[in-house]
């Protein structure tokens, strides 16, 4: 049994950091990967692949990545399903990252791209059952710390409704 995915592409939007009811951090984003060939109309297309990252790596990803960031992901494909509010079963296929790589050379993009970072302060992991949508402290300072971005590791949860993020989705 082997399940391994490696992606290099660009984020379609800023990553979203949330917390499960138990306070576990999870970041999700979509990575656009251009296809190496053109379609029958001669156009270049891309695949838009949902990625989730858990725990410490979630917070790193939220700090160091932004819309357009060239990013590497090493992880696995996960499928899950849930019943939505219309009683319909929704099937989700996403990549759970073991490791996320910030491939943008130092001093580029993110340092300049710091648009809407630094909105409301987060309740944080200790806040219990209320999902957290704001940036963390460290996000606020991210632009200035952007010098030598680290690599980080781990995985799970997508489809942006907070109710979708459960501690049951924790990979381990």
């Amino acid at each position: 049994m082997i399940n391994r995915v490696i992606l290099v592409g660009r984020l379609t939007k800023n990553p979203e950091l949330r917390y499960t009811p138990n306070g576990v951090a999870v970041t999700s984003f979509t990575i656009a990967v251009d296809r190496p060939f053109s379609n029958q109309q001669g156009e270049r297309e891309a695949d838009f692949i949902p990625v989730v990252v858990w725990r410490r790596q979630a917070e790193n990803a939220a700090n160091y990545l932004a819309k357009g960031s060239l990013t590497g992901v090493d992880g696995r494909i996960q499928t899950r399903n849930y019943e939505n509010n219309e009683g319909r079963r929704v099937y989700v296929t996403e990549v759970v990252a073991d490791s996320v790589q910030f491939l943008e050379p130092k001093g580029s993009r993110r340092a300049a791209a710091g648009d809407n970072y630094g909105a409301s302060m987060p309740a944080g992991p200790t806040s219990g059952s209320t999902p957290n949508y704001g940036p963390t402290d460290s996000q606020q300072n991210a632009a200035s710390r952007d010098q030598n971005p680290p690599s980080f590791n781990d995985p799970f949860a997508h489809d942006s409704k907070p109710i979708d993020i459960s501690d049951d989705d924790l990979p381990f």
Copy 2:
């Protein structure tokens, strides 16, 4: 831009071979890959990953694989979307295989039953515009010959309406 997926797991059902309106063969199946860890309830889970294979590989996969076959896939993640008959946009994430490996050692399962290999090939690309929706002979026999079939609950027993398969989906 890198998009690479490697999977080893077992088919949840017999593969389905179809043809696009232009007569291009495409086989789809779901591969179940056990997760290497247990969930919070201590249960072993699996991911059920939809895979498609095109052209000659499609016909090979349809001939050599069956429900339960241990199978390797090397490919890429593809996302696409289409409007379903209810006018709703459906988003699909699946693996497009570059290569499919039949990992069942000889003398086992399907290989032991390897009587009709190469027999009754479907009318194929030359048959023009009529897609082939029924199971092939060998598929039908495969199910009954299956010695120790793992029982998987295939979550992708949806979205396999023939209308989904278009020549526009051809990878190249």
Copy 3:
């Protein structure tokens, strides 16, 4: 920075389990992977890839794998170099496995292949600085326990001289 390798092939020989001076288990083997194409002489060739596995996974690999075993490896490429006894610098490129998968279906091969397993008893991890060449207790019983082989994880060290295996080679 991404370094990921996935292999499925067959062991060319039984795996070799050793211990570093500090008693850390390390297993090495070579995996033969057939190339998917023929050479200019129309012959099928293979690549013979050295793999190392560390710690608990080393002992599992030694127990469950044997010459000819169909095996999956998920790991990374590692390069290192050392000076051999002729004062020559030797460059080694090998795969360090994070995870090793026994793909042989239960009850096959190994159960029958138990040829020279169960030779002299090993001094074991506690024996300190003397590398251990014999099979472990658990290896002796391997043939009888072979029912549902597990998967296992981790990595490092090749080129069979015991002096090559140092605690400095530990990946973490």
Copy 4:
């Protein structure tokens, strides 16, 4: 049988473009990939992985990559051996690239210096039997234009004797 490698790292030197006696282009370089952990002395290490690329990709790699270029490689591990001029059998493990990705964002390093892209292409396959051993114009300039060249100690500054490159080594 699966043999898949994905690497993202930086070239230790400019790539070397050569031609087989039959005029087939082959480029080789070493890619340095930092390890995601520190060794027992708390130092960060890297793996130095030899890569070869054939045909059109070879010429692209030679044109677009230079020492220090952040580069993605998707390929397979190849092992081969040959007898060196001392009559000794030399074993080589290297990555044969199916695809090489130039990951340096535009406006940086080599891309900024992208003056002579497509200029002075080597005589190439049509030149017949004369291998090209010297650096290309663009390679020579690349070294001097290199803004912040990482300094890597390339352990594969050996075994690049032209005699190693034979038409028998062609992957297909």
